[in-house]
Symmetry: C2
Subunit: 302 residues, 2 copies
């Protein structure tokens, strides 16, 4: 079984990672982090979120972050957009991509976005249309695609059903998100196969949390079904709101280490990436949760 | 591709895990840990090591541990034996298995056991013969089978060559050990395939360190080539002597979580295993490094 020869990594640390931080992070630190990621070879990233600062105060500096970024033509910068109002605020900052989101679990949708899955998609339809009219690519993050804190295991067919609805409103790319990190390799493959019924191979990505240590095994299993785009978070930024003290997003360094070992191109410089992890970890005042960052930083310290 | 339906886990925490602890652990704590592992459904474990207490003071209570164990007929208890003298001390304690060891890297063998690989095997030959005469099964741990801190990557053919020599002196079982945790899935499969040229499928196991977070991906890749026996360490006990602060043995809980998700039988009760991880972590005064233990303990704490 041959694996993809090239993988695209989207670093979600500046958005999905930092949004969980209670202490406000300086805009300058966020911008420096993104610049370091770009310099390390990251070519897709989530920079910020245009949610209400009442919901997520950490992302209140969204427009300032976007304004301060030294954009590079080869780097696609995405921002999260929760609704039409967020879209209005986001568009003037010229994101390359917007990210909309729903869930594969009805209970999760109700508890987190206060509507059904179908309603959330209906509400996003005009936002997607507006983005497309502006020439902006639209990604959808499908939360709880493997399991839900309220419903437990999610059937792969549910992923397929919601994928079809998202495709129908014009979404370009689907991120299959294991929000609570309970997925294991064969179940991840089954979920991806459902997504691939409605999106082309290059437009399906895996977004795996490492809460139970399964993320890299799931990335490997995803490669086996041809998926070659993954979200990851520098330094493993981003905890798990459903289990305090547990791990959230898979660390970008850990993914790059595995892909390097598999001989798969990422364009990312592992040492520069570990430097970026060390930078943000120091700014946050705690060591990175990434195993690769910890091991390489310990080796450097001798 | 079908995976094995049943996996046997050997918990090496009481030996490989605890031997790295500077502070002496009470014999009673070690024995209680082993009893808890047995109660959780672990059916193979490494209880202690008959090395000189000058080298490894932590294992100085080896005979006392073995004497205090409530043995169960269904549990195979292994002890590490470095030489003929260790074998003399080990045999009266009636281990079900002894573990001898060498390396796939000449540089590592020289630095760690002060002889060549060939010399180490020659020295173990009478020990193996003695064990076989006593009806004791012999496992060999092949260190640095994927990479070496001095030589870098190890060619899979080197694993095959040493495996052949170990088989020739009567070793029953080969443990392919990624001592420094640098292996990635395809390289692990290549090393295992070399081992399988000389040992039957049921007598090859994977021993993976999680230093770079690769261990579970490597377990999954091993299942794909049919290997169904793995070492793991409760709570992820055992650091990495080559990078202080980095992770060592893969945590048994993390492996069980993945195997449960894959529908593979282990006979291990995950909750009871997490209890055992919590017990030893409390005794050592620090949280487990296992992602599953951390997440499940955080969930229990609410």
């Amino acid at each position: 079984m041959s694996l993809p020869t090239h993988v695209t990594l989207c670093d979600v640390g500046p958005r999905d990672g930092l949004q969980n931080e209670k202490q406000l992070v300086d805009t300058a630190v966020k911008v420096e982090l993104i610049h370091r990621l770009q310099a390390a070879g990251i070519r897709r990233l989530e920079a910020t979120s245009f949610v209400s600062p009442k919901w997520v105060p950490q992302m209140g500096d969204n427009a300032a972050v976007m304004a301060a970024l030294q954009r590079r033509p080869e780097v696609a910068v995405a921002v999260l957009v929760p609704n039409a109002k967020g879209m209005e605020a986001a568009l003037p900052t010229r994101p390359d991509e917007i990210v909309v989101f729903t869930a594969a679990s009805e209970a999760f949708a109700q508890k987190n976005i206060n509507c059904s899955i179908a309603e959330s998609i209906e509400r996003f339809a005009p936002v997607v249309a507006q983005a497309k009219a502006a020439g902006t690519k639209v990604r959808a993050a499908l939360s709880c695609a493997l399991g839900c804190p309220y419903e437990g295991d999610i059937a792969p067919e549910k992923v397929g059903a919601v994928a079809a609805q998202l495709r129908a409103i014009g979404v370009d790319h689907l991120g299959v998100s294991d929000t609570i990190g309970v997925g294991t390799p064969r179940r991840v493959q089954a979920a991806l196969e459902q997504a691939l019924k409605h999106f082309p191979l290059g437009e399906v990505s895996g977004h795996y949390h490492d809460t139970y240590g399964q993320a890299l095994a799931n990335v490997y299993a995803s490669l086996e079904v041809g998926v070659a785009t993954f979200d990851a978070s520098v330094g493993g930024l981003g905890g798990c709101p459903y289990a305090k003290g547990a791990t959230g997003n898979v660390a970008t360094e850990d993914v790059v280490f595995m892909l390097n070992g598999l001989g798969i191109e990422t364009g990312v410089d592992l040492d520069a990436l570990v430097d970026a992890a060390a930078f943000i970890s120091e700014a946050l005042g705690r060591p990175p949760v990434s195993r690769v960052a910890r091991a390489l930083l310990a080796k450097r310290a001798g």
